[in-house]
């Protein structure tokens, strides 16, 4: 079982395709859950504490807006944990959105910089491209099986 980071990190389609192949998708919702069910965080609907932008300093400098650092405090550890990555470029808002273009840029940059197997695709614009995308993702996930033993 390989831990695969996805970008956009909350995409239904990417997470589902990864789990079908028996790998673990590092999806944002799993991290968000840790925040929203924590009884110590008692300011709903807020789920970011003042400590989070400080944790985000590991990934983004102090002059970077706190929104980016707050997001990176959740997305950053997932990128560190990843053993492989699937990145979909130019995805529309509906295909999983973190609500911040700068976070998108920083996260994809950090994923590309990790020395891990990665697959980078463009968001499909037609039926053929969609089928091509699914086949590429399935082939990539099959190729990760060699990593499992190592």
């Amino acid at each position: 079982m390989v831990k695969v980071a996805i970008y956009p990190p909350n995409s239904l389609i990417l997470a589902d395709l990864i789990e079908r192949k028996g790998h673990t998708a590092l999806a944002l919702q799993k991290e968000v859950r840790k925040k929203v069910v924590d009884p110590e965080i008692d300011s709903p609907p807020m789920n970011i504490t003042e400590d989070d932008p400080i944790k985000g300093l590991k990934y983004a400098a102090i002059e970077v807006p706190s929104g980016v650092r707050g997001r990176m405090s959740i997305i950053g550890p997932m990128i560190d944990e990843a053993e492989a990555a699937i990145i979909v470029d130019d995805a529309p808002f509906g295909f999983g959105c973190v609500g911040c273009a700068r976070t998108n840029e920083l996260s994809t940059f950090l994923l590309r910089n990790r020395d891990i197997p990665s697959l980078e695709l463009n968001y499909p614009s037609s039926r053929d491209e969609t089928m091509d995308m699914v086949n590429k993702i399935n082939d990539f996930l099959d190729s990760l099986k060699s990593l499992e033993g190592s």
Binding site: L12, V36, V37, G94, S143
Partner: protein, 158 residues
């Protein structure tokens, strides 16, 4: 007076248990099973789960091992048309549940958008084709020069 959208969730001990997970089961547009069939099948599994019937499929919440077991069984009903996704908030959480909001919850719009692709995704899963996932490497500059010279010579000869 404005609606209070920041209701305190007052979560139960099951919801705050770190081992508890919530998954959404989403039916694709070409699914051969209905939402109620899925819910019936989930109940018949007799697992300690909270099951909610929804417009897109259903939502299950419980211990991770039970949820994974339930999803494995449910997928067998229509493997290429049943999709699942993790959900951060527990079912019925007033911070997200549409019953307490003035419209659909935020994630619904995202699901609605991804739903448009699910038909093609299930077709691709049913008819798998070989594709090349090798990255295209840039060609050598000398090779590039040769190709340019060749094509220029071809033009001159014409």
């Amino acid at each position: 007076m404005l609606e209070n959208l920041s209701i305190n969730p007052e979560l139960g001990s099951d919801d705050t248990d770190p081992e508890t997970v919530t998954r959404m089961i989403i039916l694709g547009p070409k699914a051969n099973v209905s939402e109620s069939e899925i819910v019936h099948a989930l109940h018949l599994l007799d697992l300690p789960l909270t099951i909610k019937n929804t417009c897109y499929g259903s939502m299950v919440s419980g211990k991770e091992k039970d949820v994974i077991k339930a999803i494995k069984e449910i997928r067998k009903m229509d493997p290429n048309n049943i999709f699942t996704k993790a959900r951060g908030f527990p079912p019925g959480d007033p911070r997200r549940c549409r019953a307490h909001r003035l419209g659909p919850r935020e994630g619904f719009h995202q699901m609605e958008d991804e739903f448009k692709l699910l038909g093609d995704i299930s077709d691709a899963l049913s008819n798998r084709k070989e594709v090349n996932i090798e990255k295209d490497e840039p060609i050598d500059v000398d090779d590039f020069k040769d190709i340019v010279k060749e094509s220029l010579n071809d033009k001159k000869n014409k």
